[in-house]
């Protein structure tokens, strides 16, 4: 077996008496798109928060490329190649789409303790940023103010921002949440194009998207992983059916 890019070992998290992440162990292999599904309140977003460092873990370990990153803060994890998007769109609304992405490029290229020189005119940053915007199909909206983009475009922008950090692993928290049919089609196509190049952990409620994109699926119920397998096997898994999928599949 290949060494996993991301490995969770006995990860736990509780809010007071409420156990949200209950002894989760998971291995994400390099190059795969690993979807995590589960009913509402299963603790999917909390798990993403723990992996990204937004929340600390009560116990257990998070390993990225074999290195223990459990104690690192969010920005340190980003610098090690772990990028994420948020369930609730998180962008810089007053900046142009291009500057949103250019800032992410800036974060990994050279010092930001530069007090002179107009950052918005730095060719190197803008070109890489433009490249990321084009990858998600947002090139023609580069100069629009991010706050005025449509909801679907904002989701695409978040993807572009995450890409600009040049991640080894991309954590996506419901990238399709709240998008209309056309928008979600576009995001799915973008993800399909990306999955060959970047390892992705995807949380998503849209089962059509999950089963068409994922290489492997883990099912999270009440903070526990009850199954990890290929999409086909997950569909057939009786335990998963009773716990979650119900009549949906």
């Amino acid at each position: 077996m290949v060494e996993p890019l991301l490995e969770l070992r006995h990860l736990k998290k509780n809010f007071g008496a409420l156990v949200v992440t209950d002894d989760v162990s998971l291995a994400v292999e390099p190059g795969e798109l690993h979807a995590i599904i589960g009913p509402n309140g299963a603790g999917k977003t909390t798990l993403i928060h723990q992996i990204s460092g937004f929340l600390s873990s009560a116990s257990g370990e998070v390993l990225l490329g074999g290195q223990d990153i459990t104690r690192l803060s969010m920005h340190e994890r980003v610098r090690r190649g772990l990028a994420r998007s948020f369930q609730i769109t998180s962008i810089l609304p007053g900046f142009s789409a291009l500057e949103n992405v250019a800032l992410a490029v800036q974060a990994r290229s050279g010092s930001s303790f530069r007090f002179f020189g107009d950052a918005s005119r730095e060719r190197g940053l803008n070109e890489l940023a433009m490249d990321c915007l084009e990858q998600v199909g947002l090139g023609d909206r580069a100069f629009a103010t991010a706050g005025f983009l449509s909801h679907g475009e904002k989701r695409q922008l978040e993807l572009a921002i995450a890409l600009a950090t040049r991640p080894r692993l991309l954590l996506l928290d419901e990238p399709l949440a709240g998008t209309g049919h056309d928008d979600s089609q576009r995001v799915v196509e973008t993800l399909r194009a990306l999955k060959s190049r970047i390892t992705i952990v995807l949380i998503e409620h849209d089962m059509d998207a999950v089963f068409s994109l994922a290489d492997r699926v883990s099912v999270l119920v009440y903070g526990r992983v009850i199954a990890t397998d290929t999409p086909v096997a997950i569909r057939a898994n009786a335990e998963v059916r009773t716990a979650y999928l119900g009549e949906e599949v």
């Binding site: 937004f54 994420r84 900046f95 020189g117 107009d118 918005s120 100069f143």
Partner: protein
Amino acid sequence: MTELAQTRSAPALPFGRRFELVPVILFAVFAAGPILASASGAEGYVLSLLTRVMILGLAAMSLDLILGYGALVSFGHAAFLGIGAYAVGILASHGSEDALVQIPVALAASAGFGLVTGAISLRTKGVYFIMITLAFGQMLFFLATSLAAYGGDDGMTLPERSRVAGTALIESDVAFYWASFFCLLVTYALARAVVASRFGRVLRGTRENSVRMEAIGFQPFRYQLAAYVLSGMMAGLAGCLLANQTEFVSPAYMTWQRSGELIFMVVLGGLGTLHGAIIGAAAFLLLEEFLPEILHTLGFMLQEDMRARLVENWKMIFGPLLILIVLFARGGIMGLWRRGHHG
């Protein structure tokens, strides 16, 4: 905080700088100050008023750097004015009267104070940040009142204006006016550069959404702290000038009311524009100066007795007037200007 974050500067146009008329006019007016003053017939008075406008404009602009661009509501900014002023006063009383010594010391002291208090204050957010900066400001205020050797409560008078490389270069009011003008212009240009730089962009990004900034790999604290220190140093420079203008140093420079006035100037002029803060300071100080006379003129139909009372209690008009401006002129004076220009 959200209120502040919503007042954004206009979105940047694709590559390239916009030519801005307002700062050009502003500095042209300041440059014409000495001519205006001698034409007015009350040269000394007008010159000293305009000098004060520039100095407090510099202080307000320094606050705008963290308030307007970083959404950090510092309620203790007058402390830096005090540090600058006391650096001049204390050094002068020990015989170091050269600005080339005093200003570097003032800047270093401001930076040191900013670094320590900023490192602590910036661990908090929102209302707690406001309160903790206020507390540090008050701490310094009480420290100054207890400095018996340097006048305590009463403050101290400077023997003369600072010398520059041993010469009495800024002894005359006109020369001092130009020195203040020069300081304001250079600091303004510096602040403009900083705001547009990589560093400034991180600061602005943090104002918009600090979680997002962390999620792309920045640690907002470091940038906020650097901005806080830089802003404090600029205010410290204003403090040096203030002490020299009045040739007097006292704890009154760093009361919390003064910190509040600085915030008011920034909001009045328009957050996050830099020159807006200078205009806000000008509007505030000129209104404060001339409101009694304006009231006197407007009160012509009142009885002599009422009129006198109205003029005497001009602050009862001043306060509500400021509130009305802030309420109805969203984005301050610069906001009005922008609306006038873009429909």
